[in-house]
């Protein structure tokens, strides 16, 4: 189950967790010179933030430009455990992702951190972060449509003169589309 107090706050810069809040405010405010990140205490919230950073470095095996954090499949992080959720019920990458996270945690010295999987609440494409959507677009995959958005934008030329070729693409999470202006085919990350 997701515990609200362990939910990740809205997406933050990787630096956010490294320095004390006060120092960071100064750095952003520009009134004082930027203070380099201090070594972290290996406990409490600092440890959680370090684990988040490790997870930020774990790419999705099928769309390696986005991390598992960008995809929104990491639900909660505590000093003892990481809770993840699968994207699709039958996504073959689920086991690979768990193994990749395990390897990354082990390599970073967090062998004691366990990985658990939860199905509820179900993952949707709304869990993909804004940064994740931008990375998908830069990788020529049209990100899932936001609520109220009707036209699929070609990730190559930006045209909205696009059409579906097939409802399923190279992976379960993508559909095949093509642009009627630049004529390039592209993948659309399906709304889910």
């Amino acid at each position: 189950m997701v515990e609200a107090d362990k939910m990740r706050p809205s997406k933050t810069s990787p630096l956010m967790g490294e320095v004390g809040g006060g120092e960071r405010l100064h750095a952003l405010g520009g009134s004082q010179p930027f203070t380099p990140p201090q070594p972290l205490p290996i406990k409490g919230r600092g440890l959680e933030q370090q684990i988040w950073q490790v997870l930020e470095s774990v790419p999705d095996p099928e769309i390696p430009v986005v991390s598992v954090v960008d995809l929104g499949i990491v639900r909660t992080v505590s000093p003892e455990r990481v809770v993840i959720t699968p994207t699709y019920t039958g996504c073959p990458a689920t086991q690979v992702i768990e193994r990749d996270i395990r390897d990354a945690l082990d390599a970073a010295g967090y062998r004691h951190v366990t990985i658990e999987t939860t199905l509820a609440p179900p993952w949707t494409t709304d869990w993909i972060s804004a940064a994740g959507k931008a990375k998908l677009r830069a990788y020529s995959i049209a990100p899932p449509l936001a609520a109220g958005q009707r036209a699929v934008e070609c990730p190559q030329c930006g045209s909205i003169q696009t059409e579906e070729i097939s409802r399923f693409g190279s992976t379960p999470c993508k559909a095949q589309w093509r642009c009627r202006d630049c004529l390039e085919p592209f993948d659309l990350f399906k709304c889910h």
Binding site: P86, Y88, T89, G90, C91, P92, L119, A120, P121, P122, W123, T124, I165, S166, R167, F168, G169, S170, T171, P172, Q176, K190, H192
Partner: protein
């Protein structure tokens, strides 16, 4: 009804759900590399993958509910045909592409409505799998409905094939709404759903898609029942032989 132990009802309910998904997933996998176009090939394989994902969850949990040390793989690969609890519809041969799509349309429409109800299951696990999978199944239902329309309202040949595909599968629809002792016990305890609650919605939706496809609904036929109690067509044995061949020949094989 009092004679069925609580865990047995849960076990049987999970087997029925898991076996439907597993067998249809395996059937769709048979298309891999044989579909009319690469896009269709991908869609069939991906739908199969979704279904096998559902089966992995349901059968894994079934093994836990049974408590005899069998996991999902043991249930999938080391049971014989009479122990399978899937409905007749999903074990039907693929036939041509129209027949496959007719089967998918009749099944996915039902499964979407079923999972919609199971989201409210008193069993948290069933509820969470249903909530997750229902979105995928909706996609299957929409995709197959589009093909029913496209083929039904297509050429003379595509129309004939879709008509034949629907005719073939029509007699297996009543089983989807059958309530026996296990299903009643599961519904009473809130674990399972009573599909009769959405029978009218199902019929209405099927008929509206068929109307759009300019097709008449097939004539009602004598229903064929019994899959939930282990009575199956000859087709299932052949499917299982192929599906189980590798793990039975090499019991400890791993990737």
């Amino acid at each position: 009804m009092a004679t069925i132990a609580r865990d047995e009802v849960l076990f049987e309910t999970l087997l029925r759900l898991g076996d439907d998904s597993l067998i249809l997933g395996q059937r769709l996998g048979e298309w891999c590399g044989h579909a009319p176009s690469v896009e269709v090939d991908l869609s069939l394989a991906n739908m199969g993958l979704d279904l096998i994902g559902q089966a992995t969850h349901f059968l894994g949990r079934a093994g836990e509910a049974e408590g005899r040390g069998r996991d999902g793989d043991a249930l999938a690969f080391h049971r014989d045909v009479l122990d399978f609890r899937n409905c007749w519809l999903v074990e039907q041969p693929n036939g041509d592409f129209a027949q496959t799509m007719a089967r998918q349309f009749l099944f996915s429409t039902w499964q979407e409505m079923l999972f919609g109800h199971l989201e409210g299951s008193s069993d948290d696990f069933i509820a969470s799998v249903a909530a997750k999978a229902v979105k995928e199944v909706r996609y299957h239902a929409e995709l197959s409905a589009e093909w029913v329309i496209r083929l039904g309202d297509g050429t003379e040949e595509s129309r004939r094939r879709m008509t034949d595909g629907l005719d073939w599968h029509w007699r297996f629809v009543p089983e989807l709404f059958e309530m026996d002792e296990v299903a009643m016990a599961a519904a009473e305890r809130g674990i399972g759903a009573d599909p009769r609650a959405f029978r009218e919605d199902y019929d209405r939706h099927i008929r509206s898609v068929l109307a759009e496809a300019t097709l008449e609904a097939p004539k009602d036929q004598r229903p064929i029942l019994g899959g939930r109690r282990g009575h199956h067509s000859e087709h299932l044995g052949h499917l299982i032989a192929v599906m189980q061949h590798l793990p039975r020949t090499y019991p400890d094989a791993t990737w």
